[in-house]
Structures are given as C-alpha cells and as structure tokens.
Amino acid sequence: MQWANIRLFAGHFWRNATALKSFYLLLLIFILLTAYSAVSGIKNHITQNNIRQEHQVKARQSWEANPDKHPHRMAHFGTFAFRIQPTLGIFDYGLESFTGSTVFLEAHRQNSVNFSEATFSTGMLRFGELSLALLLQLVLPLILFFTGFSSVARDKQNGTLKILLSQGATWRELLFGKSIGLFAISLLFFIPILLVVIITLLLFENPEINDFRWLRLFIIGTSYLIFLFMISSITVIVSAISNAPKNALLRLLGIWLLLVILLPKSAQAMGNYWFPTPSKLAFQSAIEKEEIQKGDSHNPNDPHYNHLRDSVFAVHNVTKVTDLPFNYSGFVMREGEKITSALYRKHHAKLVDIYKNQNDVTRFSSFINPFTAIKLVSMTMSGTDFSSYIDFQDKTDDYRYQLSQAMNELQMEYISPKKESGSEGKAHVVGHEHWEDFQDFKHEPIAFTNSMKQAFPALLSILFWAMGTIGLLLFISKRAKAI
C-alpha cells in the first residue's frame, strides 16, 4: 500500500466532489442550519439559565425574609432547586427538554422534578430538536451518503475501475484513498460546528465551575472524528460492493433509516416493554406500607415510636416528654425523617434501576449501531444525559434531607421541651438569623469521572466500530470485484 497512491485517490475524490455546484449549495444550507441552531441553542441556554438563576435568587430572598419562627415551619416552607443547564448543553440538548427543571424541597416529602419543556410542548417536540449535535448525528451522515454513494460504483459502471486497477493501483489504496477523501469533505461540515462550540465555551468561560468542559469537548470532538471516518468508510464500502450507484444509494438510505430512526426507537421501546415502570401509586404505596411497618410517626400507638420513647425516658430518667432536656417532637421528627428518607431512597434506587435496565437496551445496542454510540457519548459528555439528571435528583434529595434535619436539630435545641407540639404562633420561635446560616442549594455539575463511567461502553463501542471499519475496508479490498 503506497501513501502516494492513497493521497492521489483522496485528492481526486476531493476535487471531483467539490467541482459540483450542488455541493456548495449543500454546504451553504448546512452552514445556515449550523448558524440557526447555534444561535437558537445559545439564546435558549442564556434565557433558560437566567430564568432559573433569577428564580433561585427570588426563592432564596423569600426564604431569608422569614421572621423568627418555629423551625418546623421553615422545614415546610422549603426551598426550590433549579437545574442549571451545562454549557455544552448548547451543543447537545440531550434529555434537557424531557427532564424537568424545578423541584420543591421540603421536609418529609419527596416532590417530583416538574416543568420540563416536554410538558409545555404541543407534541411537536417529538419530531426532534434542532441542535448542533442533531446536525452531526443525523444530517451530516446523509450528506456524506449523498456525496459518496457513487464513489466506487460509478467507476465500476463506466469501466474506469478496471483501467485503474490494471495500471497498478490496488483495491486497498483505492478504498482507503476514497474514504479519506470523503472524510476530508466531512471536515468541511464538522469544523464550523466545532469552531462555534469552542467560541461558545470561551464566551461562557466560568473559572468557578470546574466541569472539565475542555476535556469533555476533546472527547466529543475525537469521537465525532472517528464517527465521521466510519461513516465515510461505510459509504465507500457500500459503494464498492454495489454494482450500480443507484443501488448503493438505496442501500445507504436503508442503513440510515434503520440505524437512525427505527433501531433506536425500537431499542428503547423494547427496554420499556421488558422492564415496565411501576405506576406512581404502586411506587408510593410500597414506601407507605414499609413505613407503617418500620414506624409511622403519625400513628399515636406506633410500636416503634413507643419503644423509642420508653428508651429515651429510661436514659434520661424521666417519665414525661416535657421533662426531657430537649424538644421531643423535634427528636421524633428527626427519627421519622431518617426512616422515610432511607425508605424513599431504597425505592427510588430500585426505580432508577428499572430505568437503567430500560436504557441499557439502548446502551448495548450501540455495539450494533454506531449512531446510538455517538449519540450516547455526545450527550453524556455534554452533561445532558440520564446520569446527569439522576445526579441532580440525588443532589437535591441530599440537600432536602440536610435542610429538614437541620430544622429538626434547631427544634430540639431551641424550642422549649415544655412545649409538647404545635408550630404556630410567636411563642416558641427560633431567631431568623438561622435561616441565613443555612446555605442555599447550589447545583454542581455532574463529576467528569461519573460521566466517563457512563459513557464508557459507548466509547468502547466507537473504538470497536473504528477497528471494525478498518478491518472491513481491508476485507473488502481482498474480496471486491472490478466488474
């Protein structure tokens, strides 16, 4: 295999493709689409994050404006956590529109994350979202198919292939050369997008957050490069094994439709079918049932709490709750929060496992579908995937737990033990400076190592695909026929 020949084929392919006027029209349209999706992505990112940050501040102001009051009232006053979109979300929206952005955090209640874009949408959202990632995952492969489908098949049809091969070129040089030529063309489309993303990252540079954005972008960029090389090679291979350009195009379009639309949809549908999600009622009542068994603080005759009371009395050598050195109902609530939170976490983890099983069907399908592989790498590395959503949920629930327990501690410490229960009025209150002392929720982006762990199978499958395509190129170059 001579590099000079490969270069010759690549250069020849490049000249042929770029000689067409229609090619520039395609490039122009693509660049316009890039510009539109970049502008709307950036605009949306800024508006959304501004809205969320503003409301985070507003919610906090009203939290701090609370007067002296009973801490349990503050536990229920609660606070909001708003999800902040990661900067790379401009490139790949991922699940952003489907995950919800707001959760209300209060004592002994795990509220759902509400207000996703999908819940405000009229159903149009399901046609897809125009993001830079969509252009690379869906539109660019099609353009490459259109540009390269006749690369070998036409030479075969008009007989130039025989001449080329008889003049000393090898199949291997031809296939690698044309693949590289088509890959070079794909860069014409890819580089503008990459530049847009780099400029955006520079503009939104935020030294406070260390989210490894440049490393993330590097992994995304490299993966797309490998992906584009794969698509280019597959185009050339299909062209080489088809006897007419028309057949090559039809095959390539079939592949596109199967891998981009049908397979991903069916994989997710199958996951959903095999691992059904419980209904919300079943989920909640399972927690409730266990709670009643373990200890229900709302039941005055609950054995767990009666036992607890007796042992606390024994330790402090008293017979009435009002004789204890701390506020007993704060103590009971602390215990209740501990029990219900642990139960909730257990059941929620089970639910997330079901989701993960559903998604695993998609994740493993990336080994037979490079389009799924790149999609997963792209959104995981952008921080807009399922794991970053769950990460947000977990962080808000941790915060919620700390908030309620901090309020329960305040109650135990500062509210007179003589007061049996009740949290209204001005008689038993805690100074309002405590509200300010409790830090506001701050959304930290998902850790890079976590994203890496999530993206690992997909990254691996991209590597497999890269090796597979090169293997296939070599294999076909031995088997291919010139006629």
């Binding site: 809205i51 409301h55 919610a59 009203s62 009229t122 125009l130 049908l262 209904s279």
Partner: protein, 447 residues
C-alpha cells in the same frame, strides 16, 4: 387488465415486497405498543380504585376525631380516561399523568406533579401507529413511486408507451393509482388490526383518523407525482424526494420547535411555583384575622364560622392553604396565557406543514393533545373545588370522620372532549395536495 399488469410490475421487485412487509410489521408493533400504553393506564385505574378504599379506612381509624388532620393526608383520585384512540396516537399522554391523586390543600402545588417517567423513553418517542403513518408511509410512497416514469425511460419502454397509450398522463396516473391502492390496502389492514386489538369503536373520531391518514398518503403521492413528472433519472428523483422527506419531517418541525420554544420561554411556570409557596407559608406569621378575612372574601358563605384566632385551628389552616392558590392567581393566569400562545402558534404553523398538522390532529382526535391536557387540569381544579366545598363546612364544624360516607367518595372520571372542526382538519391536507397538483399541471403538459 392494464391495472393487473401494473400491479404485477410493481410488486415484482424484492425490495418492494420487503418494504411492504416491513411497514405492515412495524404498524402491528406500533399497535401493540399503543395497546400496552392503554393497558398500563387500565391497571393504574384498577389499582387506585382498591387503594382508595383502604386508604380512607386507615385514615378514618387513625384520625376519626380530627377531620382537619385527616384531610391533610387524604388523597382523592381523578382520572383522565383515555380514549382507545390514544393507543394509536399516544401524544402527550406519556408525559402527563392520567391518574391524579389530590388533597384539598393548595391545588397549584399539586397541579403539575409528574408521573414516573424515564426521560430516555420520552426522548426516543413512541413507536405508535401514528408514527408509522406520519414518518414511514411517506418513505414507502417514495420507494414505490420514485422510478415509476424514469424506469420506463431507463429501460427503453417509454417510447413504446408514448406511441401505444392514448394519454401519457393517464398512463402515469394509473401506474400511481395502483400503488396508491396497494398502500391503502395496507392502511385498511392496519386499521382493521388496530380496531380489533385496541377495541376501537367505529365512531366519528375513528373515521376521522382513518380519513386523514388516507388524505396524508394522497398528499405524498401528489408530491411524488410532481417530482417524477420532471422526467429526471431515478437517482435524481429518489434524492429529491428523500430530501423533501428529510426537510418536511425532521428539519422543519425541529426548527419550528426551536423557534416556538425560544419565542415563548416559560418563566411563568417557576414564578407560579414560588408565588404559590409564599402565598401559603407566609401566612403562618401574618395576622390570622387578615387571612381569615381574605378567605371569607373568596367564600362569603363561610362567614358564619367567625374569626377564631386563638392558637391553631383548621379554619385558619385551610384559609392559609387557600391563599396558596389565591395569591398566585396572577402568575397562574400569565402561565396559562403563555401555554395557549404556544399552542396557537404551533397550530398556525403546523397548518402549512402536512405532517405536523396530522400529528396535532391525531392527538386532538385521540384526546392526547396539549390543550386537552389543560382542559383536564381545569376539570381537576373543579373537582378539587368540589371536594373543598364538601369538606370545608364539615371541618369547620368539627365533625367526626365517621359521620361522612367515605364509600361514596370513589375515584371520579374525566373524558376529554374533541373539538376538532372537520373543515379545519381536512383543509390543510386538501390544500397541500391541490397545490402540488396545480404545480404539476404545467409539467404534465410537457410530457
């Protein structure tokens, strides 16, 4: 005779057979998935029915002497029964819960609580029959028609046809007609299966869904007719038709969605949430009498319960809860207005894009559209109000829980109303087809 020949010619090729079988299979898969969706809802309804009884029994046994406390916990189910057509067009019913359980406390805080959903499922979208019709049938139209004329030219039979047939136009149209009937047969077969599996009743809505699907397929034939009448090569036709498909089905809707989202952002949703929280919680520290006054402004009929301001009491408590709804009214209205704006804009744009129009029309017919979801939320609001008015006096009078007939408080049902006007539904598809045909006429004259 001629038609029989055309049919044979059409289904001779292996690719055509494969694609016909494939689309039928996918259609059936779509119906099965839709059925599963309906089934899941049926299960949830059965669950909530038995659960509600046990739930009340337990609450009454725990809090018989404190009805106010009982209603702090008691949840009442309100069910948005799905039209079986929702199995054909799942629409927004996968993201919005169809079984809601609410307490008589602030409604706004419970209004938007989501169901348990896996966002990955939402993103990949449902593979229901509406997807097969909207996305895949057009592709089949393309596969069947792109070379209907060019094939004759490429194999050299066109001259023969030109001499022998009376009218070249009639020749092309009959060729296309055979293919159209073939696709209609598949469509009828799929709807027949859907009727059996999903237990659909043959009502007006059913025929609307079917009729609109037929029109939609006809629209794609007119597009194809327009393009193949240029008499370019098969490759060129395929390429152009697929580009049209890509633009109409993927790029335009995605672009329009981006436009609508960025034109109408929804800060109102978050403002409502905060206003609702503050509306209620701040009242713990403000003058009790003022809160009760405000409550009586809303419900003058309860004035007779007076102004109990000593210590904790349920009248004051539920007055505070009420303020969560009342004080966030302005934000709620702004929020609803925004949603309606979005809905209107989308409908407006969709009316010139057949596939988007069809999706929205399907959802509307199946009761799974955004606007019907809002109507359901409004009905839930009314249901909530009914519960409040039923329980408020009993709580304020300090009645015991066992004086209430809890068996009578069973889950209630809501049925979505379809307000699709026939002319409005058909017109966009009709006009689109006619426009394509008008475009084609000058082309045909040159044939």
């Amino acid at each position: 005779m001629l038609y029989k020949l055309f049919l044979q010619q059409c289904i001779r090729s292996k690719e055509v057979w494969i694609s016909l079988v494939l689309i039928t299979l996918l259609g059936i898969v779509g119906i099965v998935i839709g059925n599963k969706h309906l089934q899941r809802q049926q299960d949830a309804i059965a669950e909530v029915k038995t659960y509600q009884e046990q739930h009340f029994d337990r609450q009454v046994s725990l809090h018989n002497d404190d009805l106010g406390l009982l209603l702090y916990y008691a949840k009442f189910a309100y069910i948005n029964t799905l039209n079986p057509l929702a199995g054909l067009s799942i629409g927004q019913s996968d993201v919005h819960p169809t079984v809601k359980r609410i307490t008589i406390k602030t409604f706004e805080a419970q209004k938007y609580d989501t169901d348990l959903v896996n966002p990955m499922n939402l993103q990949s979208g449902n593979l229901d029959l509406s997807f097969v019709i909207i996305y895949l049938f057009p592709l089949l139209v393309i596969v069947l028609t792109f070379n209907a004329v060019s094939e004759e030219t490429e194999t050299g039979t066109w001259r023969l046809v030109a001499i022998q047939s009376k009218s070249k136009l009639r020749f092309i149209i009959s060729k296309l007609l055979v293919r159209l009937i073939l696709l209609y047969t598949i469509l009828i077969f799929l709807f027949f299966i859907a009727k059996l599996v999903l237990n659909l009743s043959m009502d007006v809505q059913f025929f609307w869904v079917f009729g609109l699907s037929m029109l939609y397929i006809l629209f794609w034939f007119t597009v194809s007719f327009f393009i193949i009448s240029f008499k370019k090569s098969s490759g060129f036709n395929a390429l152009l038709l697929l580009s049209v498909w890509l633009v109409l089905i993927i790029l335009l809707p995605a672009g329009i969605n981006a436009y609508v989202t960025s034109k109408y952002p929804m800060p109102e949703a978050l403002s409502t949430a905060i206003a609702q929280r503050d509306g209620y919680h701040v009242k713990w520290d403000t003058d009790k009498r003022a809160t009760i006054e405000k409550f009586y402004q809303h419900y003058p009929q309860f004035k007779k319960y007076g102004y109990p301001t000593d210590g904790f009491n349920w009248l004051w408590y539920y007055a505070m809860q009420q303020m969560g709804d009342d004080d966030s009214k302005k934000q709620q209205d702004a929020f609803n207005k925004k949603i309606t704006l979005r809905e209107n804009k989308s409908n407006q744009i969709a009316s010139i894009i057949p596939n988007m129009h069809l999706q929205l029309a399907f959802n509307q017919l199946a009761g799974t559209s955004m606007s019907q979801q809002l109507e359901y939320l409004n009905a839930t609001d009314a249901f909530h109000e009914k519960l409040r008015l039923f329980f408020y006096p009993k709580i304020f009078e300090g009645k015991l829980a066992n004086t209430i007939d809890w068996n009578q408080l069973v889950p209630e049902y809501y049925k979505a109303k379809t307000t699709l006007k026939p002319t409005k539904a058909i017109a966009p598809l009709m006009i689109a087809s006619i426009v394509m045909i008008l475009f084609s006429i000058p082309m045909i004259k040159r044939l």
